[in-house]
Symmetry: C2
Subunit: 296 residues, 2 copies
């Protein structure tokens, strides 16, 4: 099984890199090095320009090397580097008009080369190729996600929960008001009787979920959320399974959770995972369904 997959991965990689190698060579056809092109592309990603420090992190470059690349593009008149008014040690690079045009040209070239890659395929074959690549990409992305337990009051945890609340507010017909919930529950999800997990893709948090005590033998799962761009890849199931393991590790025998009727995907997932409806066990005004699962 695994062998089959790795064989396919390796065969594909050889094919892809030989073809895309040509593609990237033509990137160089602009008379600019690949490094400079990548940089130009990255700086133009956001209209306000990019901090040198962020560029270094994002592209993984040495500070000296990056500085040299910036000087080169500056000499070409493609960008300007100014000190950041808020902290004059930092510097911010912004594209000039010429730089923006050069970037658009790069983008155009990249588009052409992708097109070159599919030329000679029938429309049906193109569609199949697009689907296959999209599927592969989603699977690759999810394969690199790692689950990690962090304190519920860590900045990343707070950000994730905030995004979760924002989504509830958008989806619930009457909106959602976090009010006290935002801060009141945090303490409950800290060890030794609670836990908070995040799923990371690289450094970005793409899913989260927490456990808090309900009573001596029951833990409650709360704040389960998956970034909309990362849904449909089984990530929710992974987080749920890991939270259940966490509940067991914390010494509870049963898991409770509640949810709103609007979140139908969630309800379906809980059902698949073996959760069964029970009576209302709390006074959460947004909850319409209450579930339990025994971990025996």
């Amino acid at each position: 099984m695994t062998d089959d997959t790795t064989t396919a991965v390796r065969a594909f990689n050889q094919s892809w890199s030989s073809r895309v190698g040509v593609l990237e060579e033509s990137f160089l056809g602009t008379g600019r090095s690949l490094g400079a092109s990548r940089l130009l592309f990255e700086i133009g990603r956001e209209p306000g320009g990019a901090g040198v420090r962020e560029l270094r992190g994002g592209l993984g470059l040495d500070s000296g090397y990056l500085s040299r690349l910036l000087r080169g593009l500056e000499r070409e008149g493609l960008l300007e580097v100014h000190p950041d008014p808020a902290d004059r040690r930092r510097r911010v690079a912004t594209l000039t008009d010429r730089g923006a045009r050069a970037r658009a040209e790069l983008d155009q070239r990249s588009e052409e080369l992708a097109q070159h890659l599919v030329e000679g395929l029938s429309p049906g074959q193109r569609r199949r190729l697009g689907e296959a690549l999209a599927t592969a990409e989603r699977l690759l992305r999810v394969g690199s996600v790692r689950l990690e337990s962090i304190p519920p009051d860590a900045p990343e945890a707070v950000t994730a929960v905030r995004r979760y609340f924002a989504e509830l507010d958008a989806r619930f017909p009457g909106g959602f008001d976090p009010s006290d919930a935002a801060t009141a529950d945090v303490a409950g999800m800290a060890p030794p009787r609670g836990s908070f997990l995040v799923a990371r893709a690289g450094e970005t948090v793409v899913a989260c979920g927490g456990v808090q005590p309900h009573d001596a033998t029951t833990g409650e799962i709360k704040r389960m959320w998956v970034d909309p761009d990362w849904r449909g890849l089984g990530l929710g199931g992974r987080v749920l399974a890991e939270l259940e393991a966490e509940v067991a590790r914390l010494g509870y025998a049963t898991v409770y959770l509640d949810t709103n009727g609007t979140l139908s995907e969630a309800i379906a997932m809980y059902d698949r995972a073996g959760y069964r409806p029970i009576e209302r066990y709390n006074d959460n005004p947004y909850a319409q369904h209450w579930f339990a699962k025994s971990l025996a």
Copy 2:
């Protein structure tokens, strides 16, 4: 449509290269450069070693550069280069035992890294990824194939036809004896009344087919062949369609072709393409089916 595909291609490429970039870096982890690793891998592909000339073609390297890489690996004791007894200008590189071990280690590392790429995926997800990549690879390969008309006595045409005959010999229960056919027909497939096409993937010929005159208004398609590694991708259909276009360009109104009952895929394809069975129109001892199609 096309836009969708190129978007998927570009998104995928970014994802893939960021992930595989890490993969290839670890290739370098052996203390050998990527170029040297590729070379080592290529030489070890066939047990008898590889001709320097073939390596140059296969890897697309400059002769000076390749020579230097070979010297480096030789110094490391991983390979030996000896003159080819048949032509002492040429040289043949063979791996030493140490070289073979180093290559096995590379292979192992590549396998591990492919595995690393799929770790964290469930068995079902792995299967889906493998399938998606295999599909994509086949489509990419076929997308890069170009059809080209060449003289039927060009070395590449002769080689392709020879491989076709070899396959017939293997597949026909009583074998196949090209005898006179090999040379006699060549003249007929030359312009202005005939034509010979090859399909190239890079420099390699992966399919071929010819047209020769049958009578004033009828052309005959012969020697249609697709490399076994390249079947099932619609290449046969493309060659056939192009041959029909060629027949029309040469001024014929009808196409004839014959085939052996063993070649069931071919018969199915002719049927799909609109060919209808007719009476025996020649004395080809290997033919059991005769088809015609009007190009009106």
